[in-house]
Symmetry: D2
Subunit: 357 residues, 4 copies
Amino acid sequence: MAHARLRDLGLSTGSLPTGQWNAITDVAGVAVGYATIATDEPLSLRTGITAIWPRGPAIWTDAVFAGFHSFNGNGEMTGLPWIEEQGLIGAPVAITNTFSVGIVRDAIAALAVRAGAPQRFHLPVVAETYDGWLSESETFPITTAHAFAALDEARSGPLAEGNVGGGTGMICHQFKGGTGTASRLVEDKGESFVVGALVQANYGAREMLRVDGVPVGREIGPDLVPLPRPQSDAGSIIVVLATDAPLLPIQCKRLARRATTGLAWAGGLGANGSGDIFLAFSTANHIRIGEPATEVGMLAPERMTNLFQAAAEATEEAILNALTAAETMTGRQGRTVYALPHDRLIEVMRRFRPPLG
Amino acid sequence: MAHARLRDLGLSTGSLPTGQWNAITDVAGVAVGYATIATDEPLSLRTGITAIWPRGPAIWTDAVFAGFHSFNGNGEMTGLPWIEEQGLIGAPVAITNTFSVGIVRDAIAALAVRAGAPQRFHLPVVAETYDGWLSESETFPITTAHAFAALDEARSGPLAEGNVGGGTGMICHQFKGGTGTASRLVEDKGESFVVGALVQANYGAREMLRVDGVPVGREIGPDLVPLPRPQSDAGSIIVVLATDAPLLPIQCKRLARRATTGLAWAGGLGANGSGDIFLAFSTANHIRIGEPATEVGMLAPERMTNLFQAAAEATEEAILNALTAAETMTGRQGRTVYALPHDRLIEVMRRFRPPLG
Amino acid sequence: MAHARLRDLGLSTGSLPTGQWNAITDVAGVAVGYATIATDEPLSLRTGITAIWPRGPAIWTDAVFAGFHSFNGNGEMTGLPWIEEQGLIGAPVAITNTFSVGIVRDAIAALAVRAGAPQRFHLPVVAETYDGWLSESETFPITTAHAFAALDEARSGPLAEGNVGGGTGMICHQFKGGTGTASRLVEDKGESFVVGALVQANYGAREMLRVDGVPVGREIGPDLVPLPRPQSDAGSIIVVLATDAPLLPIQCKRLARRATTGLAWAGGLGANGSGDIFLAFSTANHIRIGEPATEVGMLAPERMTNLFQAAAEATEEAILNALTAAETMTGRQGRTVYALPHDRLIEVMRRFRPPLG
Amino acid sequence: MAHARLRDLGLSTGSLPTGQWNAITDVAGVAVGYATIATDEPLSLRTGITAIWPRGPAIWTDAVFAGFHSFNGNGEMTGLPWIEEQGLIGAPVAITNTFSVGIVRDAIAALAVRAGAPQRFHLPVVAETYDGWLSESETFPITTAHAFAALDEARSGPLAEGNVGGGTGMICHQFKGGTGTASRLVEDKGESFVVGALVQANYGAREMLRVDGVPVGREIGPDLVPLPRPQSDAGSIIVVLATDAPLLPIQCKRLARRATTGLAWAGGLGANGSGDIFLAFSTANHIRIGEPATEVGMLAPERMTNLFQAAAEATEEAILNALTAAETMTGRQGRTVYALPHDRLIEVMRRFRPPLG
């Protein structure tokens, strides 16, 4: 079964238009890089790192506003006290496996030192989801070099999805999960804003999966596609939202909270074992080190609703893109996680969506 | 069109079984009372109060654990610093219109004084949604007597829904909204817990409404049923969740957060103008004034996932019950808000839900 | 014993200079009004209302940024979900007794309606402390007219302190407490900012009271001045901080948190029964209804430390001003609360502060 | 100048009695270990790790309740989303330098794997303060072996203080800072509880330092003892509070917040550049993996005030112990940070504290 995006299959969700690449990189300046680690000797590894630069290397001296929401905090995202206090991100952000948060975090701090970043404090934001069912990640296989590779490789434009980067070994709704992205455009009062999402999707029970409201997970049951790991409430999802709308930190936090809505539409309810932590940043304002005061733009609160919808839709579609892009994977101990079968997905959607009158 | 509950129409959502009454009163001890105010002279009023006793009059000396989540805080719920600090509720809770929060709050404090409630501080929890499109509520028509009436009238068992109590004049997804309730049972390790929801639903855009994932709002457009007030992002939703599972305050907060999921399933995304504030309490533990220490039960974290699903499903169905129970209402300035038409709802659901093979 | 301010006694705390009035009204545009209720027939009342206009009547259409911190939430401050969500205040703020929060809250909503305030939602901020030891406030004696009187009477310039407004019947460190205010100037990079504090001080144990670090409370024990009500951990303190420094909502929240520091210096540790809730707002930015976007100023984070010190010092001195300004009061049931005796205070301070070498 | 504790100098603060060791280890089961790294070749290092086991190795299967407070979040403490969500700690906690958070965090995760810890997720709590003025820590000198050493070396009983463990290279109030500890006993209703504090103190301006309210920092100015690094608002303080009182997670959070009070008494106000993050845990309740439900004890809220005072006093004295125990240190580039001189401290205290009449 070939790698595809949801829209490649003739399917879609939501009502807002997408950006050019339907990716987080539609937000100008955002660059994404991956390190993907898949080996069988000496260790069986299916893991990696996803690096996100909010505005390329300028980020070291020109911070973005940010906010987060922890919908279910059984996961890690470092750097949260700083974001809560200052509403700023001044470094690249990364997502990896549970056991490698520390080394990737320190690697970004090292890069900051190397870059001569003038901040006194280096408090990188690194998040994780757990890939131990397919990967021997508890051997701590990820190195500083891997982290640098992901950070160096970052680019704009269309992005790989599915079994790549931090998402390599992930499982979502008991199908093969991984990395996904999407974006939405908001046209408002003669201005156009974009909201992009990138997810590392590793959560959820099969029977909860919905695509545009259709109960796809119930219709493609274990008789059709075998289930992987028994615990359906394991796993997590990290969502990173980016926008070029001028938001203050308090508004970024509001945006981050709407990843909950997109996650719910896809069938996620923040199961107990899940680390569902959401980050949002806005590239519109430039907070440069050394300025005594900064003039910043704030979108009127009344205009946030459209951005909320964009954030929810982009999150939902990014999850679905992770599912349709991921391919069946066999890893550790010969365990296999099956991809969401495209033909059955299309069949179910056709059955539940009547032809337009 | 007659008053009905969703299941009266042969429809349902979610997968868990309901409690006996499919209502928040399925949690033993919970009692609900309404004051409904609908007059046309001298003022055009469509408003009221909903009172919820977590365990009847015992609540004054035997508090319940509680937690809250503000998904979008453009609304009021008094008493929040106390809940955040202590995780306790020791008084009845009420929901009313935006302009009457104060008088209802003071009325509950007065009742506490009258009851000789031994707490030194009286910090009642009163929430609101806005009914000013149908009701001249900005005239402050609600009195202490109305509040006492709602509190006195509280009972267990089946509940009225739709245009009653605090929900009398509300609008939801641009249909007539109001008060709704539902419940779910969780069977786990030989134990049975119930989670009940009561909502005051006054939020949302027509085109976002979903019933079990079906885009009902898009299918029943303005050509079929006229839209009321122009701003679709006005309004709010208050959700009160009750359970008999033994939860600590920190776990009640987790439960409250899952109202977000049920709201998302129904099509709500916390629009900017919306006060989407959720309260959850657990009746299992008894925190009696004067005890130097209390032994309390804590459900294992791993068992929360089922409760989360119950909370999300109960919230979703409570919203839908508010919609199907509400009847078309004409109020202030002759404005009319139309109920969700049952026949069309059934027709759309049939069209989007294929017959079982 | 005459009413005095701390500095009238030749005493002071902190190291930053004060503003012109050493009051919250040193922040341009801030106006404060009181309603003071002291009767013995038919009820024994020692209560009132303090109203604070962040920028006079312009506040209805030109909001200020704000943030809050609840150090110990056994108290009420309404309007918190809105401040947490939007970081805005668009109405006057009030402080009163525990039982009158509701009526004062609704009165401000009524004033908003009367003023034709264009906001769709009216979510006033009203806080409280408990004066029931000296006042029969549980009879709900405060009326809408009292609230309007306090709001109407507001003015700039020097303020009355001690037994006035909401502070009328309060007890602080087991001396007579009440309303106090102070301010500090921050000179930084050629700019001058002011931070003003107003407190309603009703908390604390005698033996914890400190003045500039000197254990005044231990030195002026019950043998010298009798103690009032037995529970030293009853009571609360509300702190309102205002500044003209250009702060974002996230920065106002940081400032509010520093009231904790000033409170600690005076000897308060947020006893269990205390509602220690702090509000901070900045008048520098103007958030006008109807603007699609707003350019706002943000002070560099590195410049916040001086403001933190100003907030802590102003809070500390405002508490001490409440104590030195309050006069011995006899109220309900003939109960007497004694003022902090100025002569003994001066004597203790002299004893513990060596003459400069 | 010899290493000493505050009480060795005949000085003290607060009014509650101390525990046996006047240390966090007075809480039964708490063990503390250090790795201290001080080399001049090839790198000039003054750094280390402090490891805290809440109840020895049993912690892997028998979690403690916990809560945190970030007074000023310009620092890192990993594991916070999990604590906020579940209120549990199930692993040792560590404090190190800013650049080594990651490696120490991963080391604890590795130890969990090695211990066969049955939790599915490994979310260690590791905090930091910055020691780069005296130490070339940005070379990332700390290794997994160092972390294991600190964890292995942990013991109960009296603890080393000052230039040890994570505190090795720290600066506090512009004197030499480091690691400090203290404890307080609370006798209440025939029960005795202990509250212990351990701090890594690296914050503050000289002129703000107070000892029992006496302005020691102002009295021992730069003319008497030279100042180190110019920025007085750099640095941070991590406070870990432990107690054997039966607290729920929500109560641990309350306790953590009182470190703010003790910090304020010593002269700290959470300067902008400071990461002032406080953790509190209670060993009284046992949350064992695999139990379907757990009976836990909750201290009555009314009894918290004494614990608050204990937490504030223990924090204050732990800071002062860090200062009196630390010895003058010369490190990186020959920079010297001078210890607080004991003789002058005693002299100032004598001058400001009149002989008892």
